[in-house]
């Protein structure tokens, strides 16, 4: 265990843990949009900036990527941190003014207007969906493409992503709830925030016994293949399975 000081409070954290996790375990609020404990930290949203003191010098780091150290002094609400955080929030608000999550978070951080030029994007480029697809599902159907101001989340060549199995991890993990998943009848539609991308639709499998549609066929094929199961195992839904 390592002892560090966050906002004047001495807290204990496991070695190798990040400052963000240590703060959250001790109920110290640090805003963050791009973090999920099942996915490797990435430091994309920059909202979790904190001030640390090393060798008598103060500097700003992303707390989701900074491992705890013995005797580390962390400030989560100093003036410098608050100023930087507010600017980042203003930039996010200028990029995605129509997203509810961003509006709520801005309100919480006392940001009510933004001096920057308004855009109307629906993605904050945190890359959580991309990382979940790669690390948790293991298919890498989507990716962050292009650089600089052209950067966007997209499937290869904006076409229907062949590798996608329609599991919905991206929709679940999206911090701004802009990827949506809807099952209507026998089709599942996943809507991505990139208008250039084709619609992603999946056929759902019908249960042989009860006739309900219960999971995308592609996802079941993927599971049977990766776990080398018998092909007929998913003919019936879990409720009808004996």
């Amino acid at each position: 265990m390592v002892t560090l000081t966050i906002d004047g409070r001495e807290v204990q954290a496991e070695e190798g843990a990040m400052v963000l996790d240590a703060a959250r375990d001790n109920n110290i609020y640090i805003p963050a949009l791009c973090s999920n404990e099942a996915i490797k930290p990435y430091g994309a949203c920059r909202l979790c900036l904190v001030e640390i003191v090393t060798n008598g010098k103060e500097r700003l780091v992303a707390s989701c990527l900074y491992p705890v150290e013995e005797g580390l002094i962390v400030k989560t609400n100093s003036e410098r941190v608050m100023n930087n955080r507010r600017t980042i929030m203003e930039l996010l608000l200028a990029r995605c003014p129509s997203l509810e999550v961003i509006q709520d978070l801005a309100k919480r951080l006392a940001v009510d207007k933004t001096p920057f030029k308004l855009e109307d994007k629906r993605c904050i480029l945190c890359g959580l969906c991309v990382r979940a697809c790669e690390e948790v599902v293991g298919v890498s159907a989507i990716s962050l493409v292009n650089r600089g101001i052209d950067r966007e989340m997209a499937s290869p060549f904006y076409e229907f992503p062949d590798a996608c199995i329609g599991c919905g991890s991206c929709a679940y993990v999206c911090p701004v709830e802009t990827i949506t998943l809807e099952d209507v009848g026998d089709t599942r539609t996943i809507t991505m925030p990139n208008p250039k991308m084709q619609k992603t639709e999946f056929k759902l499998k019908k249960c042989k016994i009860c006739g309900n549609y219960w999971a995308p066929e592609k996802q079941l094929d993927y599971i049977t293949k990766t776990l080398s199961l018998a092909p007929e195992i998913f003919d019936v839904c879990p409720d009808c399975r004996e």
């Binding site: 099942a38 996915i39 679940y172 993990v173 099952d183 009860c210 219960w214 999971a215 996802q219």
Partner: protein, 306 residues
């Protein structure tokens, strides 16, 4: 059918605010519901727990399963205690003794503590519009004292105080529609959930906690001991309760009803009843009667949804 299958569960937080090692029975659906609800609620909560199974199993002196602030209340005053805590928090913030931080008061009570004994305190709290979430964990009888009937026990179920026999079919009254009573208070959010649909449950609890004002979530929790069912069938029985239309999952937001799990067709109630020993004695006629009632209630709900 719930949308998320195998991969999404890996993305849910691993932090357990309702610690393992408690004394719930094998296959307890209620402990599962509490665990999922606590995952959804996070740490900034004060849990007010009425007397009942979850209070008994989670807090045998000197142990506790709660990693969040928790207070035990009696059956009858849970709503009142929650109101008091909520009002107290407000006052402390107003006097500047504590920084303004969002701390949610969450009540967890059983069906007896909600629909029988605690009803007037709950009704008062809902009417006064306190900012709290009420989670009712409905296992359809007083299970921890030995399966006595409550007003949430369904028609035809055999309990120790409504036993089935030659002259009786067990419980002779229909289950009290508690979510409808809560909704009649004109509160912003009412929902029904079941731990067999974990993501739906977590989303509803999180939504109820986020809403400003009173919210009510009714969770059907399968009880293998009291329902005389096999402990390994807990999840399946929960799903069947939803798929047969006996316990439809829906939410009511500001007067607008929405069905959470929309099934093209309902299963016959027989599928649900036959897995439980408490319905073992039912004749075909009684089952028909139950089916008729379920269809009628479902149609009523569909009218509200439409």
């Amino acid at each position: 059918m719930e949308k998320y299958a195998v991969f999404v569960p890996k993305l849910v937080t691993k932090r357990e605010n309702f610690a393992p090692g408690h004394r719930a029975c094998t296959g307890c659906g209620e402990a599962l519901a509490v665990r999922l609800a606590c995952k959804a609620l996070g740490q900034n909560v004060i849990i007010v727990s009425a007397t009942g199974c979850m209070e008994i199993v989670s807090s045998p002196l000197p142990y506790t399963s709660w990693r969040v602030p928790w207070i035990h209340t009696l059956f009858e005053n849970t709503g009142a205690v929650a109101s008091g805590i909520e009002a107290g928090l407000k006052v402390i913030v107003r006097k500047g003794k504590r920084p303004a931080k969002e701390v949610k008061v969450v009540v967890m009570a059983g069906d007896g503590g909600t629909s029988d004994i605690g009803l007037q305190a709950l009704s008062g709290a809902l009417e006064r519009g306190h900012d709290f979430l009420y989670v009712c964990l409905d296992n359809e009888a007083y299970m921890n004292t030995g399966i006595q009937r409550s007003s949430a026990t369904p028609f035809g179920a055999s309990t120790t105080t409504a036993p089935a026999g030659k002259m009786s079919i067990g419980q002779v009254t229909w289950k009290k529609n508690m979510p409808a009573i809560a909704a009649a208070h004109d509160i912003p959010y009412v929902a029904t959930a079941c731990p067999s649909y974990p993501f739906d449950l977590m989303a509803k609890v999180a939504k109820g906690a986020a809403i400003h004002g009173p919210a009510y979530v009714h969770i059907l929790s399968v009880c293998p001991v009291g329902w005389r069912s096999a402990p390994d069938l807990t999840i399946r029985i929960g799903r069947l309760a939803v798929e047969t239309g006996i316990f439809p999952l829906y939410e009511m937001e500001n007067g607008k009803y929405k069905l959470s799990i929309d099934l093209p067709q309902l299963r016959p109630v027989q599928d649900y009843l036959k897995l439980q020993g408490r319905f073992r004695h039912l004749s075909e006629e009684t089952i028909k009667e139950i089916q008729y009632r379920v269809n009628k209630e479902y149609a009523k709900l569909m009218e509200k949804v439409a």
